[in-house]
């Protein structure tokens, strides 16, 4: 129906695959797009969070006063889902305790004072096989680096057991401002291909697709030039649309498969991994290098040198910002993550975690929020853009009146908080905020 109308009003027929719903926000990627990855100087101290979103928090095995080297294990998993955590720098442990975390809560973390003694990681001698790779990934502490931070080894194990057909390597990077994955695609293409092949081996999938949005066509072309046409790895170009990078939407766009509610991608025979994760897998298998650093986009108008920086895990946001030359008086808002789903910060002593994709700074003008509590005018715009097809307006009206049971019935739990609805809402209703709050309340009420 849409396609027919699309054609009828004279729009060019497009072959770009995509999903239903979604929005086209102002991307602002040009700020950092052409900035190559560049390491930042080592900070004075790092705070390495032990947090992981699934399973029990790993148990610290170092204590105050211990001397650690970069890549040394500082925490052990407590259950099958957990991963090892490594020190990202050489130095002395100053404290193991509760520290603030970007998502807005406290987690156990180890504070390490940076010292001397960095050593390069030598290449490994042999290439391991499937299950062995999974073990290496776990030992290297690799988690999903696209933002969710879900343990990669656990996902791979599940995928292997379910017998997935396809591996999707997610290079969509649909969040405005962020270009870290794009730079990884451009600069570490070979590592990416190698990492993808390792992931294929580990998961048992037959084919891999590397999904890239159409605004990163040069990355797509570069990738296409480096893999033969008959290879198991195939790049695909997707329409640039937010939230194209969300797992379910990516699967829908590439494979036209729908993940059932409450289900996993493995249920439809798919495994999704981020491009940075694939590179980290390559590093782990080829060099035995654990996940101790990552590429972070540091962008926004209040910065003099926005760019893509290679950052040690645990670097504090304030140290990170220094590298890009911030205009301190003009910083209105500091967002960890992208502006659509990221967390704004009231304090800057929070660390870069393994899943931190970027830090976006908004100027004072950009940060102004119209605090509107206008009632819903039922324009339905939130319904058209919702990639999960939820009746967002109805859910939020229910939440506004405190009827959490109704909100849950309408699909509250299915919301992934992508923020498309709140982006388009002409009444400026705090839709995502209601939903996030209601999810907490609904949980409490249920109990």
């Amino acid at each position: 129906m849409f396609a027919a109308v699309w054609k009828a009003i004279g729009m060019p027929a497009t072959k770009l695959r995509s999903f239903m719903g979604g929005i086209h926000p102002l991307k602002r990627k040009e700020l950092t797009r052409e900035r190559p990855i560049e390491p930042i100087p080592l900070p004075g101290k790092v705070v390495i969070p032990l947090f992981q979103p699934a399973g029990k928090e790993p148990r610290p095995i170092v204590s105050k006063g211990d001397i650690v080297t970069a890549g040394q294990v500082i925490a052990e998993p407590q259950d099958g889902r957990g991963v090892f955590v490594h020190s990202s720098v050489c130095g002395k442990v100053k404290k193991v305790g509760r520290f603030p975390f970007p998502a807005g809560f406290f987690v156990t973390a180890a504070e390490v004072e940076v010292g001397e003694g960095e050593k390069p990681f030598p290449p490994m001698e042999r290439t391991p096989e499937g299950p062995e790779i999974i073990e290496i990934i776990r030992n290297a502490g690799i988690v999903g680096m696209g933002g969710a931070g879900f343990p990669t080894h656990f996902k791979l194990k599940g995928a292997r057991e379910a017998g997935v057909e396809f591996l999707l390597v997610n290079g969509a990077e649909c969040e405005p401002y962020l270009t870290a994955d794009y730079r990884v695609l451009m600069e570490r293409t070979e590592d990416l291909i190698s990492g993808t092949k390792l992931l294929l081996k580990a998961s048992g999938a037959k084919r891999a697709y590397v999904a890239v949005e159409s605004d990163k066509k040069d990355a797509y072309d570069r990738l296409g030039g480096m893999v033969p046409d008959d290879d198991v790895i195939k790049p695909v170009l997707l329409r640039a649309k937010y939230p194209q990078g969300s797992e379910k939407q990516l699967i829908e766009a590439v494979l036209k498969r729908e993940v059932p509610a409450g289900g996993l991608p493995a249920d439809v025979g798919v495994l999704v991994q981020n491009v940075s994760t694939a590179c980290a897998v390559h590093d782990a298998v080829a060099f035995g290098k654990p996940l101790i650093e990552r590429v972070v986009t540091l962008s926004g108008t209040p910065l003099k040198r926005p760019g893509n920086y290679l950052v040690r895990i645990g670097t504090l946001i304030e140290d990170l910002m220094e590298a890009a030359g911030p205009d301190r008086d003009n910083i209105g808002k500091v967002i960890v993550g992208g502006p659509m789903m990221g967390f704004s910060m009231s304090r800057l002593d929070v660390p870069v975690a393994r899943e931190t994709t970027g830090v976006v700074l908004l100027s004072r003008v950009e940060a102004e929020v119209e605090p509107s509590h206008q009632s819903c005018v039922r324009c339905g715009k939130c319904l058209y853009v919702c990639p999960m097809f939820l009746p967002t307006s109805e859910i939020c009206i229910a939440v506004e009146r405190g009827d959490y049971a109704l909100a849950v019935k309408l699909g509250l739990e299915n919301c992934m908080e992508c923020g498309s609805c709140a982006y388009v809402c002409p009444s400026r209703r705090p839709l995502v905020q209601w939903i996030k709050t209601a999810k907490l309340f609904a949980k409490k009420v249920k109990k």
Binding site: P25, I335, S344, G380, P426, S427
Partner: protein, 320 residues
């Protein structure tokens, strides 16, 4: 120390479209039709429009003040309600009746339910239907079209009246009807201007095509079938009466129409068919207003029946 950071929950960027922006745009694209009407029916029209708009704004401010709520007359919704109501009135209506209609529209149609976003029926149409029931005589006294060269103001009928009552008067040509050279309500005559405005709103994304197309389409189909297969009956049905004004500007009212695409199609088709039925068999010559009001009443049910199927869910229970 640098100034305090702002914190809020994602998303941290927003589109520029806001409700006031949309409302004022609609008001703006409606203005040409009003100016045309002044030329067509004389300057009394202007005073009717002014009376409606001013009453609407003043009353809204008054009610919000009495209820101790924030006064939101600057969002343009009251202006739009007043304007749309005026466009739905006869050009010959006394000013005091227009004011009564506006009071009903704003006080009963809108604020009895809690104001913008809470009303069930389109306030302007509530005002019109009320006036129609309260003062049927005055509401069905028409001015002739000046542009058609008429000077005799004594007896005049709209094209739909001519059809309904089998009057000996001659009908305007379809072309004249499209350009609005005919009698009728203040804002409904010039289909061209209304259509252009509608296309502009469509282009801006303020309305979607579903309701107007479903409305006019089903009305046209009904007219063709009812007339025994004459295609020009479709054009007549769309251009006569308030179908164009109603389908583009009133039925698409965000608050009182369904939110989902399927719901909007059902809503539009329902409006079209009810309009056709009232025109063909009913006691009134025109049924657009009642059709929209009736479908407004059904909107909560339609909304409920057409909730989108959530991603990844096989089937949604209808009666939640």
């Amino acid at each position: 120390m640098s100034p305090k950071l702002a914190i809020s929950i994602s998303p941290h960027i927003r589109t520029r479209e806001t409700v006031p922006r949309i409302m004022w745009t609609v008001v703006l694209v409606l203005l040409p039709a009003g100016i045309f009407s002044c030329l067509n029916f004389g300057w009394h029209v202007l005073s009717v429009i002014a009376a409606c708009v001013i009453t609407a704004v003043v009353l809204e401010a008054l009610i919000q003040k009495l209820r101790g709520k924030e006064i939101t007359i600057s969002d343009g919704s009251a202006v739009l309600t007043g304007l749309l109501l005026a466009y739905n009135l006869s050009p010959a209506l006394p000013i005091w009746m227009a004011i009564i209609g506006t009071v009903v529209a704003i006080a009963i149609g809108k604020h009895a339910f809690g104001g913008l976003g809470h009303n069930i029926w389109n306030p302007a149409l509530v005002g019109r239907a009320f006036l129609m029931a309260a003062y049927p005589g005055a509401m069905t006294t028409w001015f002739p079209s000046r542009l058609a060269g008429a000077v005799d103001a004594m007896t005049y009928a709209t094209p739909l009246n001519v059809i309904k009552q089998s009057l000996p008067q001659s009908l305007p040509s379809l072309g004249e009807m499209f350009f609005g050279i005919r009698g009728g309500c203040i804002g409904e005559t010039c289909c061209l201007l209304l259509l252009l405005g509608g296309l502009f709103l469509l282009w801006k994304g303020y309305i979607t095509w579903h309701i107007p197309v479903a409305f006019l389409g089903s009305l046209a189909c009904f007219a063709v079938i009812a007339s025994g297969g004459k295609p020009q009956a479709a054009v007549f049905a769309i251009c006569a009466g308030g179908a164009m004004l109603g389908s583009i500007y009133m039925a698409t009212d965000y608050v009182t129409s369904p939110v989902s695409v399927r719901g909007m199609l059902i809503f539009g088709i329902g409006c079209g068919i009810i309009t056709g039925v009232i025109r063909k068999w009913g006691g009134y010559p025109e049924g657009v207003c009642y059709a929209i009001l009736l479908m407004n009443s059904a909107t909560p049910l339609i909304d409920r029946l057409t909730l989108p199927r959530a991603y990844g869910e096989a089937k949604r229970k209808v009666w939640v």
